[in-house]
Symmetry: C2
Subunit: 141 residues, 2 copies
């Protein structure tokens, strides 16, 4: 594992919209492991504006994720459950649980959160372990 | 690894002072793995008020850490370097680097940040891998 330290200036939360990342390169996502030498876990910062949604479900075979919501009002769907999330909601999601999310249309500000993911081994060993099940968006049911 | 999901309501950032944790049980720290079934990595949320400091240095043998600062103005000492940190500063610190921090006395609000730690194996396998070297506080030099 790389020693020493690395610094990246991400910008304050209200500037996160300038980042663009992910398999779907929409604005409002940054993977910090792309800027720093993180080997053991990955960390993304995320923003969705009121009414914006992920647009896909995904699950993992091995990786567990922590979603830590910091600002805004959103919904996190976990299988057949739909959680209301807001500043300070922390959710661990284990392998095998399909998940998707949106910022509520009535949220006064964008939904902003951090997602940490890891699987008990260096991420490079785990590789791509996620799939995108074809499920309906729960807020349209 | 535990499947399913778990939810913990941490509270918004301006309520983090109510949490008390750590080997030194000062207010303003919460280890989320104590509330959720996180196995692969640990996540703490942290607050220090203007002028407050860690009070100790520490380093790790195996674990790497990510410090993601969200609010306030602070200083992060990494060996002989002293970084100025603020909202959006992300710092990966590898094994072996001694570190300590404070909220600057002139910060208009408390320093708040998230620390993620992991070592490429389940944390329970890694165990306690940190030490606290006896070094002077860099802002008093």
């Amino acid at each position: 594992m790389e020693t020493g330290y690395q610094v990246y200036e991400l910008g304050a939360m209200d500037s996160w919209e300038r980042h663009i990342g992910g398999r779907v390169p929409v604005p409002g996502r940054k993977f910090l492991e792309g800027e720093l030498a993180l080997a053991s876990f990955g960390v993304s910062v995320n923003e969705r504006k009121p009414g914006e949604e992920a647009g896909y479900w995904h699950d993992h075979h091995v990786v567990e994720e922590l979603y830590l919501f910091l600002e805004g009002e959103g919904e996190l769907a976990l299988g057949t459950e739909l959680l209301q999330v807001h500043a300070g909601t922390a959710v661990r999601v284990g392998p095998g649980v399909p998940r998707t999310w949106r910022c509520r249309p009535d949220s006064p500000i964008p939904l902003r959160w951090i997602c940490v993911r890891g699987g008990g081994a260096p991420l490079a060993e785990i590789g791509m372990d996620s799939e995108r099940p074809d499920l309906p968006m729960p807020w349209r049911a």
